[in-house]
């Protein structure tokens, strides 16, 4: 026996109503993202002071209309509830563990990224075999997909584009540098950014890398080197959006 289309539509409306009542992200998330943005873009301190500090009335979810939805979920209410709670607990624990491992593994230099830098490929070249720019990417790429292929994956173009993965590797190094800098580990930040310089001298994120490098040098107290780097930055990227960040870092030199 199948549902008439109206029932599916009504259930869908209830699901949509529930989603519309979805709570806002917690305020601390807003603060965290804004702190990162400030570092990335050189926003003035205090620009995010008026961030909402509490979920406020907009987050209080309206009660979900639970007619058909309740019936939809009721068939499995006991099992579904237990499954959901167990799943949520496992998910939260897994997420916490992954975050912990990620934080621990980000600061020490992961050797795999640096050892075999993939040079950005000129667009005219035919797609090369995947370069071993990171052991991590190469390892997971070799594994078969864990989930059943969806229509998205079926219709997407051929997987594995060197340019994309080069950008991913670039981003990883720059993010390492940014994170280390934000945490005050200037040596690690400089090391990560210099590895990016060696691996991707003219990479897509070179501008961001160079601006972070100036900030890291200033933070470390290497003022003359920071000034040289800043001068080179302005020569190479005269209209950069990161120029204010670089100038701000120079102004902070005592």
């Amino acid at each position: 026996m199948t549902d008439p289309p109206d029932l599916a539509q009504e259930t869908l409306r209830e699901l949509l109503d529930a989603e519309k009542a979805c709570p806002d992200p917690p305020p601390e998330v807003g603060q965290r993202v804004f702190t990162r943005l400030s570092t990335s873009l050189g926003l003035p301190p205090g620009a995010g002071d008026a961030m909402p500090t509490s979920p406020g009335p907009t987050v209080a979810p309206t009660p979900v209309r639970t007619g058909l939805l309740r019936r939809t979920l009721a068939g499995s209410s006991g099992r579904g509830l237990a499954t959901f709670l167990v799943g949520a607990a496992v998910g939260a624990a897994t997420y916490g563990t992954v975050q912990h491992i990620r934080q621990k593994s980000e600061l020490p230099a992961p050797p795999a990224i640096v050892t075999a830098p993939p040079a950005p490929e000129p667009p005219s070249r035919p797609p090369p075999p995947p370069p071993a720019e990171t052991a991590e990417v190469a390892t997971v790429a070799a594994q078969p997909p864990a989930t059943a292929p969806s229509r998205v994956r079926e219709t997407e173009p051929n997987l594995g584009d060197a340019r994309d993965r080069g950008l991913a590797a670039e981003r990883k190094l720059v993010e390492m540098g940014r994170t280390a800098l934000a945490r005050g580990h200037t040596d690690l930040a400089i090391a990560a950014l210099r590895r990016h310089t060696q691996a991707f001298p003219s990479g897509q994120l070179a501008e961001e890398r160079d601006s972070l490098l100036v900030q890291a040098l200033v933070a470390k107290g290497e003022f003359s080197q920071a000034r040289q780097r800043a001068a080179r930055f302005h020569r190479q990227h005269p209209h950069s959006l990161f120029s204010p960040v670089v100038d701000q870092a120079l102004r902070s030199i005592p």
Binding site: C22, P25, R36, L37, P63, A146, D164
Partner: protein, 192 residues
Amino acid sequence: MTDPGSHPKPFPGDPETSAQRPPDLPTIYRSELAYVWKTLRRLGAPLPDLEDLAHDVFVVVHRHLGDYDPARPLRPWLFGIALRVVSDFRRLQRNLREVPAERVEPVDAAPTPHERMEGTEARALLMKALDALDLDRRAVFVMHELDEVPVPEIASALSIPLNTAYSRLRLARADVAAWIVRFRSAERRRDD
């Protein structure tokens, strides 16, 4: 669901003044972070990556703020940026092993535990249904059904022909409804 093409009320997030000067990034951030956050989630961004992707969206907003026309509603513009960020993210992640993540919602104290559970479960169910869509259809569906943006505005924001937008919406609705029917049938079979 709203009737395509009709949009009696203004979009949330419209610049009230429709001034010629675009709002600055901190202002947009303060007013639209929640919208961007929810949009990224609705477009299928994994929970552990939401902060990174929200950061990326606002970096792009910062870079392209000069391109934004203050006479136009803000949220469809932000949606287009969020869609590109999610699309890029998915392209970069496509060689990685995909682990279906348990969607854990932030706990909110306002509703009763039962309401909260039911709302959370309903949201998780909808996300699973949306996961069955490709990103193009998903984007149109989310924009229209959840953000209540009229289809012509969607077509403009996503730079697609109007008929394509209508077609994607129709197909997305059919796909989601079919998914719900399959889900209910499977639940019934399991209970029998």
